[in-house]
């Protein structure tokens, strides 16, 4: 099963369970159904699905308005960079709403597709999901595999309050990754640990989990057992679990494919530098050469042999 098919099924099953649910977005119920992401969505008679206008700023405000009235609003967005138009709502409107007395009864979830599949041109390749969350300390989640998808969508998609749940366009047509059952997952679903090993600690940010898993598996074959973490939420999280693991392994490998100047992994690095005496530290991030704006494959390239060699040294 493909990544997009699995997520679509999860969303559809969850959406049809709830009353007063309003699903909206551009072309969510027509054409390609946003590339299969929103195919065959159904709601109860108390709900509504509609193809919206092309007005991202207003659609974000609209979702907050529905949430304030107790509805369950979900805005499916074709591209994360369209959300740039709604930043006023994400920051200013959300600040008012979360300052209101009492707990919210309604919910609002924005589900953008991060266009990280490359060859888009100078525009439409923004993948800095953490930047959106950071602007307003917004709860946000990335989905990379079967396990995080199930847990995050089931527990967050229609739960009271606001959040953004982002999916990766690059992974849409890839086979769904089915990792081992997590050995650790915090209550807020911000940090997942998929393996515990004593030789190195691997931690993945943004949508770099497939690369991290590939490295983990290759190292295992080479006799190097690693711990494997994925950071699913870019809002500030407690690094103690990762720090404790890195203290044991003394080797830290960080992957972050976000194209931001302010990478989420810097927060972990800062903590690790002060708390852990590392024998080896590898930080794999996107490189920006003179051609980064022209259409290209646009993904975090990794050289597994080189990584193995460097970790073995």
């Amino acid at each position: 099963m493909k990544y997009v098919e699995f997520i679509n099924e999860l969303i559809a099953r969850e959406a049809e369970k709830h009353d007063q649910i309003v699903l909206f977005g551009q072309n969510i119920n027509a054409g390609s159904f946003v590339g299969g992401f929103t195919k065959e969505l159904r709601v109860k008679p108390t709900g509504r699905i509609f193809n919206s206008t092309n007005s991202e700023n207003s659609l974000c405000g609209f979702g907050f308005g529905l949430m304030m009235q107790g509805a369950r609003a979900i805005f499916f967005m074709k591209q994360l960079d369209f959300l740039l138009l709604g930043i006023d709502q994400l920051v200013n409107t959300y600040n008012i709403i979360r300052n209101m007395p009492g707990k919210p009864t309604g919910s609002f979830t924005i589900m953008p597709i991060v266009v990280d599949n490359g060859y888009q041109g100078p525009q439409s390749s923004l993948n800095n999901f953490a930047d959106f969350c950071s602007l307003g300390r917004i709860p946000g989640f990335t989905i990379t595999n079967k396990l995080d998808a199930e847990l995050i969508i089931r527990s967050n998609m229609v739960s009271p309050g606001f959040r953004i749940i982002a999916v990766s366009q690059r992974l849409f047509k890839e086979e769904l990754i089915i990792p081992n059952k997590p050995v650790y997952c915090d209550n807020n679903l911000t940090l997942f640990q998929y393996a515990a090993g004593k030789n190195a600690t691997i931690i993945c940010f943004n949508f770099s989990f497939p690369q991290g898993l590939a490295i983990h598996n290759a190292l295992k074959k080479a006799g190097i057992n690693t711990s494997l973490f994925n950071v699913n939420s870019p809002t500030p999280i407690n690094w103690s679990k990762v720090i404790a693991d890195a203290k044991k392994t003394e080797k830290l490998l960080i992957l972050d494919d976000s194209k931001s100047q302010n990478l989420s992994c810097h927060s972990l690095l800062s903590d690790a530098e002060t708390k852990v005496r590392l024998k080896k530290k590898l930080v794999l991030v996107k490189k920006f050469d003179g051609e980064w704006l022209i259409p290209n494959a646009d993904q975090l390239e990794i050289n597994i042999r080189s990584i193995i060699r460097r970790l073995q040294l």
């Binding site: 009235q69 409107t93 008012i96």
Partner: protein
């Protein structure tokens, strides 16, 4: 609804209360007692009372940074003043200040200090009203500056497309901060803009609260019946003007309509009239009831307000 004489005088009393309450707030602004910014709405009292009067049941009101008149129409001065002092006894427990002051219990669901931001929230709220209630409307207030923002157009399009019970009420005071409309843009023909989207339009002016109430009440009923938005443009003057420094271009100083902070030339009095024209709702009321009668009302109101906040 026919407003009887007793109700009419009660409405006049409320308008005078709003005027004097703002004048008292202005005194605190003058003495620099607030840490928060204040945007007075002197001259907006008749419209604010009219809007408040037509609200029923679960109707919602969404406001801008210049929300003081509407909040005073829905709550007494003391909790608002306490909010401005950021006290726990404030209307919103001192957590929202002036530009975002809300009062959900009385239908003031949301206010925005970001120009036009509130329009989209109002579309969402009215969509929920349409889906889950069907008996109430949402009223969203913005100004002639806010309609320059793209979100106004987007919200008009969305509200008409979704057929939601929403009243866009545009207070056109002709100014955005210190610039007049003609100094910053071409005229926006709101009637034509609304009409192009199939949104019905009406214009109000003259500061007659009873005429405003009658017209807005009819609009409310029509919005619920037709399940469609409506746009009302109100010609209004924000009183409390001042003059910039004298120079060759402006020998008497450039006229600036009040925007924010204190209005230096305004002070509370037994007869709080600011302008001898229909730009001032009190002048309109005085024409109807006679100045003498209203002076007596104002004197009592001022004493009462001062006692309450002392």
């Amino acid at each position: 609804m026919i407003i009887n004489e007793k109700e009419k005088i009660q409405i006049a009393r409320e308008i005078i209360r709003l005027r004097l309450s703002q004048m008292i707030v202005n005194e605190k602004c003058k003495s620099g007692e607030f840490k928060i910014p204040v945007h007075l709405a002197l001259g907006h009292e008749a419209l604010a009372i009219a809007v408040s009067s037509i609200m029923q049941g679960k109707d919602k009101l969404l406001l801008s940074h210049r929300n003081i008149a509407y909040n005073l129409a829905r709550a007494p001065l003391l909790p608002i003043m306490n909010e401005y002092f950021l006290k726990p006894a404030g209307l919103a427990k001192g957590r929202f200040g002036s530009m975002n002051l809300i009062n959900p219990r009385r239908g003031v669901a949301y206010t925005s200090s970001i120009l036009g931001n509130q329009f989209a929230i109002a579309v969402g709220i009215s969509m929920a009203e349409k889906l889950f209630d069907g008996k109430s409307i949402t009223i969203v207030i913005g100004g002639d500056g806010a309609i320059e923002e793209g979100i106004f157009y987007e919200s008009l399009v969305m509200s008409r497309s979704l057929g939601v019970p929403l009243l866009f009420l545009i207070e056109n005071n002709g100014w955005s901060m210190a610039t007049k409309i003609e100094e910053r843009r071409k005229t926006i023909n709101l009637r034509a803009l609304s009409g192009s989207l199939g949104v019905k339009y009406t214009r109000l002016s003259g500061n007659d609260p009873y005429e405003y109430i009658n017209k807005l009440q009819k609009l409310r009923a029509s919005i619920i019946k037709e399940k469609n938005p409506y746009c009302v443009e109100v010609k209004i003057t924000t009183l409390g003007d001042w003059r910039g420094p004298k120079n060759i271009e402006y020998p008497d100083g450039k006229f600036i309509q009040y925007h924010a902070g204190s209005a230096p030339n305004i002070a509370p009095s037994d007869w709080p009239l600011i302008k001898n024209s229909e730009e001032d709702p009190l002048w309109v009321l005085a024409k109807r009831f006679g100045e003498k009668k209203l002076r007596a009302v104002a004197k009592r109101q001022l004493a009462k307000l001062r006692q309450k906040i002392s």
